[in-house]
C-alpha cells in the first residue's frame, strides 16, 4: 500500500545525519573530562605516592608534598559544612513546608537563585567586608569557611527541596490527622523519609567547597604556613591555613622552578578529591532511586 517516495528517503537521511551529529556533539563532552584526567595523571605519575600526601611542602614550595594544604582544605570544608548544612536544610524546610505561595516566597526563591549566581570573587569581597573586617574575625579559617558556607548554601537548599518534594503529601496529612503539629510532622515523618536525599546535597556541597579558590584567597587561605606533619589538629580555626586550590594557583603561577610534576600532582589530588566526593553523591542518588519505597 505504501511506496517509498524520494522525499521520505531524504527526510530519513537528514534525520540520520542530525542524529549522528548530535551524538558526536554530546560525546565530545566526555573528551575533555578524560583528556584532563589522563593528561594530569600522566604528568603527575613521577611524584604520586602516599608520601606526597603526607609531607609538607618544602624548599619554598618547590618540592615536598601536600600535607598542609590538604589538611587546610579539610578544615575549610568541615567548618563551612557545619554552618551551611543546618541553615540550608532548614531554609529548604521553610520554603517547602511553611511558605505559602505568595510574592514573598517568590522573592525568597529569587534570592536563592541570585545567591547561586553571585560571582565567587564578589563572595570574596563580601567575606573581606563582612567577616574579616566588620565581624573582626581577621583572616582566619573561620572567616573563609563562613564565606564558603554562604556561597554553597544554594546547593544544599536546591537538593534538600528536591528531597522534601519527593515525600508524598499523604504522609504529612496522615500525621496531621493524628494531631501532630507542623514541626512534629517534619521531625518525625518528613525529615526521616528524605534524609538520604538531603545527604546527596550535603555531599555535593563538600565537593563544591573543596574546589573553590577565589572566596578563600583573601579571607583565610594563605600561600604558605608550616604545620606539624601527621597532626590532624595542627590548625586553629582562628588562624590562617593553606588550601589545595590556592596552593595549585600559587605553585603554578607565583613560584618559579617548582619541581616538575608537583603542580600536576596537586591538580590531580584536587580533581580526584572533588570527583570522588561528587561520584559518591551521584551513586547515593542512583541507589535511592532504585529502591524507592513509594
Amino acid at each position: 500500500m505504501f511506496t517509498e517516495t524520494p522525499i521520505s528517503r531524504q527526510k530519513q537521511r537528514t534525520e540520520n545525519i542530525v542524529r549522528i551529529l548530535l551524538l558526536v556533539v554530546t560525546s565530545l563532552m566526555i573528551l575533555p573530562l578524560l583528556l584532563i584526567i589522563g593528561y594530569l595523571l600522566y604528568k603527575a605519575l613521577p611524584v604520586l605516592s602516599l608520601e606526597f600526601l603526607f609531607t609538607n611542602p618544602k624548599d619554598n614550595m618547590r618540592a615536598g608534598g601536600l600535607w598542609a594544604p590538604f589538611l587546610g582544605t579539610i578544615y575549610l570544608v568541615v567548618v563551612s559544612l557545619l554552618v551551611s548544612a543546618p541553615i540550608g536544610v532548614l531554609a529548604a524546610v521553610y520554603l517547602n513546608e511553611y511558605a505559602r505561595e505568595n510574592w514573598f516566597t517568590r522573592i525568597t526563591n529569587l534570592a536563592v537563585v541570585n545567591l547561586a549566581g553571585v560571582p565567587s570573587i564578589v563572595h570574596a569581597l563580601f567575606g573581606v567586608g563582612a567577616f574579616v573586617l566588620f565581624a573582626g574575625l581577621g583572616e582566619s579559617i573561620l572567616a573563609a569557611s563562613l564565606t564558603l558556607a554562604i556561597m554553597t548554601l544554594p546547593v544544599i537548599i536546591a537538593s534538600t527541596t528536591e528531597a522534601l518534594k519527593a515525600v508524598p503529601m499523604s504522609f504529612r496529612e496522615a500525621c496531621w490527622n493524628l494531631g501532630a503539629t507542623r514541626w512534629q510532622t517534619i521531625r518525625r515523618i518528613v525529615l526521616p523519609n528524605s534524609i538520604s536525599g538531603i545527604l546527596t546535597g550535603v555531599i555535593l556541597q563538600v565537593s563544591r567547597a573543596a574546589g573553590e579558590t577565589a572566596p578563600i584567597m583573601f579571607t583565610g587561605a594563605v600561600f604558605y604556613k608550616s604545620i606539624a606533619e601527621g597532626d590532624l589538629f595542627a590548625y586553629n580555626i582562628t588562624e590562617q591555613c593553606m588550601a589545595l586550590s590556592l596552593h595549585l594557583f600559587t605553585i603554578s603561577t607565583q613560584v618559579p622552578d617548582v619541581t616538575e610534576g608537583i603542580p600536576y600532582g596537586t591538580a590531580i589530588v584536587l580533581v580526584a578529591t572533588v570527583l570522588l566526593v561528587n561520584a559518591a553523591s551521584i551513586a547515593l542518588r542512583v541507589y535511592l532511586r532504585t529502591r524507592k519505597k513509594w
Binding site: 532548614l90 521553610y94 520554603l95 549566581g117 577565589a214 603561577t253 570527583l275
Partner: protein
C-alpha cells in the same frame, strides 16, 4: 474551623514556636545574604565612589594605572571589554555544543544513555575553576602555540575555551529542563502528522521551548562573566583592548583577584576594586533576574 485553629495555635508549646521562628529565619536567610553581600561590598567602596572617582572615566577610559606614583588612573573600560569579549567567545563555543547536547539527551537518547551522559556532564561541572586555569596554563597554552603559531598561548581564545567548558554543563541541564517542560502532546501531535524526530525538534520543540533555552544561555553567560581563576590564569592578564581571539585580555574578576592582596585597606585602589565588585554584582544580578523572569514567564503561560 477558625476557632479550632486559633485554639491549637495557642496550645502550641513554647519550644514549637521557637523552632518555627528559627526555621522561618533560616528560610529568609538567602534574602539577608543577598542584601548583605551588596551592603558590605558597597560599604567598602562607597567612600571613593561618591567622592573622588570619576565615574565617566571609570567606565570609558582604558587607562588602568592604579599603582602609578604620580598619575593614578582608574579606567576600567578595557577590563569591561575583556570580560564581555571572552564571555561572548565562550558562548559562541558553548551554545551550539550545549544546546546540541541538550536536544540529544532529551529527544534522541535511550534512557540508559541519558543517565550516563547526565552523570558525565555533572562531573564536568564539578571540576574546580583553578584546575581549568591550570589546564589553560599548561595543556591549552602549548596547543595554541603549536596550532596557531602564536608566540604565547595565554590568550582570549584560551580563556574562552576554558569558560566554554565550564558553562556547557549549566547550559545543558537548564536547556534539557526547558525541553522536558514542553508537553508530550505537542510531540505526539507532530508525529501523528508524519514528522520525523528532527522535524519535531526543529519545528515544534525549539519554538515552544525558546524562552527556556534563552534562559539557559543567559545563565551560562552569567557563569562566564563571574568566573575568576580560570580567566586569571589562562588569558594573559594584561590590560588590552582585544583585536582578535589571539590577543591578551584582562577581566574585571581577574583584576580583583590579582590586586586585592597587594593593596592597603581603605586607600583609593582598594576601594576601586570593591567598586568593580559592585559592578560585577549588578551585572550578574540583572542577568540572573532576566533569566528568572524568562523562566517564570513560560511557567505562567503553560
Amino acid at each position: 474551623m477558625n476557632i479550632l485553629r486559633k485554639k491549637s495555635r495557642a496550645n502550641l508549646p513554647f519550644s514549637e514556636t521557637a523552632i518555627e521562628l528559627f526555621i522561618r529565619l533560616c528560610g529568609i536567610s538567602s534574602i539577608l545574604f543577598v542584601f548583605g553581600i551588596f551592603f558590605f561590598v558597597f560599604r567598602e567602596g562607597a567612600g571613593f565612589l561618591f567622592s573622588g572617582l570619576d565615574v565617566k572615566e571609570f567606565l570609558t577610559s582604558v587607562e588602568w594605572q592604579p599603582t602609578s606614583l604620580n598619575n593614578k588612573r582608574y579606567g576600567a573600560f578595557a577590563l569591561i571589554v575583556g570580560t564581555f569579549s571572552v564571555t561572548i567567545l565562550a558562548m559562541c563555543l558553548a551554545v551550539p555544543f550545549g544546546l546540541g547536547a541538550a536536544i540529544f539527551v532529551s529527544e534522541f537518547c535511550s534512557p540508559k544513555l541519558r543517565e550516563t551522559f547526565k552523570i558525565i556532564i555533572e562531573l564536568l561541572a564539578a571540576i574546580p575553576s583553578v584546575v581549568w586555569g591550570f589546564i589553560g596554563l599548561t595543556l591549552m597554552n602549548q596547543l595554541i602555540i603549536v596550532v596557531f603559531k602564536a608566540p604565547i598561548g595565554l590568550t582570549m581564545l584560551n580563556g574562552g575555551i576554558m569558560l566554554a567548558l565550564m558553562s556547557v554543563p549549566i547550559i545543558v541541564s537548564i536547556a534539557e529542563d526547558a525541553l522536558k517542560a514542553v508537553p508530550d502532546s505537542y510531540r505526539e501531535a507532530a508525529e501523528a502528522l508524519g514528522a520525523t524526530r528532527w522535524q519535531v525538534v526543529y519545528r515544534v520543540l525549539l519554538p515552544a521551548a525558546k524562552n527556556g533555552l534563552l534562559a539557559a544561555v543567559l545563565l551560562g553567560a552569567a557563569r562566564s562573566i563571574g568566573e575568576t581563576m580560570a580567566v586569571l590564569m589562562a588569558t594573559g592578564h594584561s590590560v588590552n583592548i582585544p583585536s582578535g581571539p589571539l590577543s591578551w585580555i584582562r577581566t574585571l574578576t581577574a583584576t580583583i583577584a590579582a590586586e586585592l592582596g597587594e593593596v592597603a585597606r581603605g586607600d583609593e585602589h582598594y576601594q576601586v576594586l570593591f567598586i568593580i565588585g559592585i559592578l560585577l554584582f549588578t551585572i550578574t544580578f540583572i542577568v540572573n533576574l532576566i533569566a528568572d523572569l524568562v523562566i517564570k514567564g513560560i511557567r505562567q503561560e503553560s
